[in-house]
Symmetry: C2
Subunit: 202 residues, 2 copies
Amino acid sequence: MSESRRRGSYAVGRERRDRIVAAAAERFATAGYANTSMTGIAKEVGITATGLLHHFPSKQHLLLAVAEHRFDVAAALVDSSADADGDALIDALLAVTRRFVSEPGLIELFVTLSAEAADPSSAAHELFAARYQRTISELAARFEACARKGFFREGVDYEAIARECIAVSDGLQLQWVLSGGRIDLLADIRRHLERLAESLRP
Amino acid sequence: MSESRRRGSYAVGRERRDRIVAAAAERFATAGYANTSMTGIAKEVGITATGLLHHFPSKQHLLLAVAEHRFDVAAALVDSSADADGDALIDALLAVTRRFVSEPGLIELFVTLSAEAADPSSAAHELFAARYQRTISELAARFEACARKGFFREGVDYEAIARECIAVSDGLQLQWVLSGGRIDLLADIRRHLERLAESLRP
């Protein structure tokens, strides 16, 4: 097979995989994880059940891919603020929350999945442990870049700041689910981030 | 039965129930929930298995009682700061973290249990939903009392502040478990609370 043919078929496979993950995220968010069948997802994407199993051997594998996709989306939003100022970074973090709020069904799924992942023997553990570590490092690096440009103070432990931002987001998502969606997630997170940014100004 | 006899036997039952919950919390924290047997707990408390089942029909019931006890301990620590100033309130919140850190096995158990409780059909849901609501109200009331005495600013949404404090605590406990205990929970929470208190001063 020529190099370009091989790359072409890789791209097709990748594109199909992405469509499967998008369809699964949509179904998990609306119908719930338990009520979603692999057959239903295959039908929606227009492939056979065997074709689906080729990409994802089980619904649990698909759930982890949806989780990974959610981490990727958040990382891309924060990364988009890479060359900007402190306000743009805070805006990017608010955009992540806005995205989460637009998929309430996934909030519930993630609260459960991240807690499951806390158990080292769970299938989700490795993915969550690695992605939390990476997310914290990347977010800390964004804060540090803003500090180097003079938007925020230098000499602050920005890894700790990053852990706090992620903790507030996770903790409030838990409260959002426990309260039956009665708290305003975006308003609460905005309040925390604005106070944080204020305290970090030089 | 005379009134005093009845009250006496109630007190004995209550005292035994407390000893069971304390023994279960200790075992869940050290051996883990899965590795703890009802028979082992009964033996430790010095009662028969039937006697234990009279108080707690299942290990799941006992787990919920341990959860409730943990909420009570935290509430009592915060309540102890009722008539004090803003610094005492921050110290009380740090005392809650110190207590959590002293029982690392329970942190893991609670991360899992609170996520389970997010599912409205779970046995833990009602307890967690009610206790989160109560904890938030009580903590907000403590902050408001400090504001009335002039330690903190007035006109702040202290329910939102209370939600944030609890979110930071829950979110960092999740990160603590995911990172295999590599973050300094107490230092991170102290940093958040000190910055928060600073921003709330009149």
